[in-house]
């Protein structure tokens, strides 16, 4: 049976990881390849690299970083940030990415999902959705969560699946950064609605949150950043914790 996946996410700016990183075993904390290798060694199931300052000037730097990552990392990885065309995605595929995630560009032009799935296969296309629960509906936001849109989480996720997305990466803006746990209710509803895997993001603060997100939220994968980077939840400990509680983990 398939295992639940644990995915550290690295934010990248100009080819370097941002946010302080707290690992004694790492010589250069800003070097994404070195950090990623460590995570792979520790049993990360996949990695996500987000180009947070995605601009045209930066695009080349990011591509060459992706090439470097593909050279040294022997687990699957997704790259995202500012991907807005089949050509952008193609360059990243060529550089060695296993998947790309698209967010704002897909909201702006949903056909992009169809085009990318057709060109590269659904397995290559992760649609990332940032949403915020405002009163009742979950409102989809773009531009790193800055811009509310007229889309709602559940209908947009279904549309993305229909158009050929291979996975949905859902970040709850209400939970992100709180370290109070994932958006369990929304996740379990997404799992019911969709037949493609859902990656949960936003809110991880301790090991119990991962158990909840898999057992109650029914997520296929869980993504987190700072708790791994700062060593608050070491990956090997987390994997053991989940295994001990009979969650299927690699």
């Amino acid at each position: 049976m398939l295992t639940k996946r644990i995915i550290p996410c690295l934010d990248i700016k100009e080819g370097r990881t941002v946010k302080g990183i707290n690992f004694e075993s790492i010589r250069d904390a800003g070097d994404p390849v070195e950090l990623a290798s460590l995570y792979a060694q520790q049993g990360a199931d996949e990695l996500v690299f987000l180009d947070i300052a995605a601009t045209n000037e930066n695009r080349k730097t990011f591509s060459s970083l992706v090439r470097e990552i593909a050279r040294y990392i022997n687990i699957p990885f997704t790259v995202g940030g500012g991907i807005s065309s089949v050509e952008d995605a193609s360059a990243l595929l060529e550089a060695g990415a296993d998947k790309v995630s698209i967010n704002s560009a897909a909201v702006r032009n949903p056909k992009l999902i169809d085009e990318m799935a057709k060109a590269f296969g659904s397995q290559f296309v992760v649609v990332a959705i940032d949403a915020k629960k405002v009163d009742n509906p979950w409102i989809v936001h773009t531009h790193g969560g800055k811009k509310p849109t007229d889309k709602k989480l559940f209908s947009w996720a279904e549309e993305a699946q229909q158009r050929g997305a291979g996975e949905i990466l859902f970040t709850s803006m209400n939970h992100d950064g709180t370290k109070n746990g994932f958006a369990i209710d929304a996740l379990s509803k997404l799992n019911q609605l969709l037949s493609i895997p859902v990656i949960a993001s936003g809110g991880a603060g301790n090991m119990g949150h991962f158990m909840d997100v898999f057992l109650l939220g029914k997520a296929d994968a869980a993504l987190a950043a700072s708790i791994f980077h700062f060593g608050e939840v070491p990956l090997p400990d987390l994997k053991k914790y989940l295994k001990d509680r009979n969650i299927s983990i690699r």
Partner: protein
């Protein structure tokens, strides 16, 4: 030299890098003429079955590859779509497969909401026959990274090397004489991928 066939589908750098990491040299070959130097072959591939066959055809690989594999009998490993191309055909397409192995490629039927398609992620594969490819005994930790919506079903049970269950049992690896196919991506499967590539490089 281990030669990795580039027929225009998928990124091959990670295969080269995986071999390099475990101390073996390999090279990507782009033209059928380069097959001459090959002592072992990797047939990778990501994407649709018919596209794969068509690319092999259009770039002139079919006959020289057939000679290398079926006449000279050099060891070859098909990965993912590469494995499926080695079968007689696929429910995904209408073209004939390479037909090197008596097997057919079928589509997963979703068994329940728990079994999502594609089968994407880390799954356990059990060794079902003795092989130089995987010497260590079955190990509950031995998981490989899979991404696929179609699977191989062998007609001769003795060809099956690795079996996986995802909704139904399927052949995660086959081996017949010099012909090996694996459904997962060894180049993305960390230490167990390294074990498998190391054995392919060393024992064949």
């Amino acid at each position: 030299m281990i030669s990795i066939i580039d027929y225009g589908l998928g990124n091959l750098g990670s295969i080269v890098n995986m071999f390099k990491k475990i101390g073996y040299q390999s090279q990507i070959i782009h033209r059928p003429e380069e097959l001459d130097q090959a002592t072992k072959l990797i047939l990778p591939g990501v994407g649709a079955f018919d596209t794969g066959i068509k690319h092999l055809q259009d770039h002139g690989w079919l006959a020289p590859l057939e000679k290398k594999v079926m006449v000279e009998r050099i060891p070859i490993m098909g990965i993912c779509l590469g494995m499926q191309l080695m079968t007689k055909g696929s429910e995904e397409g209408k073209f004939d497969g390479l037909g090197w192995i008596d097997a057919y490629t079928r589509k997963f039927q979703p068994a329940s909401a728990e079994v999502k398609i594609p089968h994407m992620g880390w799954s356990k594969a059990d060794i079902v026959k003795e092989s130089k490819l995987l010497i260590q005994k079955n190990n509950s930790e031995r998981r490989f990274y899979f991404v696929h919506s179609y699977f191989v079903s062998v007609n001769n049970a003795e060809d099956e090397l690795l079996r996986c269950n995802y909704g139904n049992n399927f052949t995660a690896g086959f081996e017949r004489n010099n012909i090996i196919g694996v459904q997962f991506h060894p180049e993305k499967s960390h230490k167990f991928g390294m074990e498998l590539f190391g054995n392919f490089a060393n024992n064949y």
